[in-house]
Subunit: 135 residues, 4 copies
């Protein structure tokens, strides 16, 4: 089953670099914002997960830059995932210029779930997989 969400981000002055565009590393932060929103919707908030003693470390990040974002722009981050029973959360991203709809970047991340002491989980614990969408 596919889940997706969109978040809107207004470029911060602090996110630019001397090339006059958004510094490329910031897209990784934007992916993070959209991913948290996405995971929150159908599983459990990361905050709650961390409170329960689970961590969600990122194990892979990929980004392909097509066209720069600039200060003054608003961008839309679309995040999409397919939930499986395997505790590996793969999320795909599209970054779009809000006004022109131009595709600025695409990306992918992979997260795993571990206990606080770093032990990798091989299946999503019941308490996290949340009956949240069943209600």
């Amino acid at each position: 089953m596919k889940y997706s969400c969109e978040v809107e981000i207004k470029v911060r002055y602090s996110e630019t670099d001397q090339m006059g565009v958004v510094y490329h590393g910031n897209y990784i932060i934007w992916f993070n914002i959209a991913r948290d929103e996405l995971i929150h919707q159908f599983v459990v908030s990361l905050t709650k997960g961390e409170g329960l003693g689970y961590l969600f470390p990122v194990v892979e990040v990929h980004c392909y830059y097509k066209y720069p974002a600039r200060y003054g722009d608003s961008v839309i981050i679309k995040a999409t995932t397919e939930l499986t029973s395997i505790p590996k959360i793969q999320v795909n991203y599209e970054v779009l210029h809000k006004k022109t709809k131009r595709l600025l970047a695409i990306g992918k991340t992979v997260n795993v779930i571990t206990t606080k002491d770093g032990r990798l989980l091989l299946k999503v614990p019941d308490i996290l997989s949340g009956k949240k969408n069943e209600g």
Copy 2:
């Protein structure tokens, strides 16, 4: 008694903004680097302090910008403090251009010491004040 230290920092590309200079918020991070080095020298490493259950939150930050730093520059951060028995760590900073010695910024921070649950300490605990400089 006065303590001081110097750290050298090579400007990172990621630290620039679209004005073509180092983004002003990054000086606060540079102060942090010099302060950690300074505190480490005569008290205890922050890492160890945090392991012992103490935190060192910043309660004040001040910075006066005189002249911009740029990508390609190396800067020197001079940090100075006077240790007192009061658990308020006040540190003063000077940021200098390494090659020209030009003064780029001056600043000040104030840190306090708290327990992990946020309770403010009114004196520096013995275990932290460290007999480190006595040996």
Copy 3:
């Protein structure tokens, strides 16, 4: 005459540090977001100003931290300024926890206006002071 504005910011995971709270340097970035919004409302957008060949470097930053913000929180940044004819833009800030209204921090910044080559302006150029609010 007094001008003010409020912006809401949802704490980003990337803004936390290992103390489990928002890293103190990020408040300077938050001030920047509120200041841009404020200046945009009654003067001119920074983007446009920079296009016209003017820069607005920060020359002072001050922040007093009262209570930490955490991941999962939304905060309100209130920015207030009094416009004068002198080209020194002083802005005062309050950071409030959105839900509890608790005051998390207060701050102040001072910006000046310069030409692209760094020459300080002694009065606000007409083209910037904008008849924007007169309409």
Copy 4:
């Protein structure tokens, strides 16, 4: 022909997140630091390139995280590239824990060369390819 270089980075407090480890986005910044050093050695400094009117935008970023870096650690970033005549600079990275030599992450980036107005170059301009290593 293969070129490589190593840079050492001491983890900054500001680079940690509330998981108690280095925030994953910061590895992209570390790659950037090592890449600039590498390119500087055999081609031309980015500063000089930008002065000549060329930009070096990143078009791809990939990172695989193996093991976390923590505050207090020093890490080594090894960057390796094979220079070709095609103006696409592909760099591979290894991030190692300085003391234990444990592999923390591997990565890859691809940069292109463009003119200031964003036009992609199809071969490295002579002025950049530099006879720097011939002398």
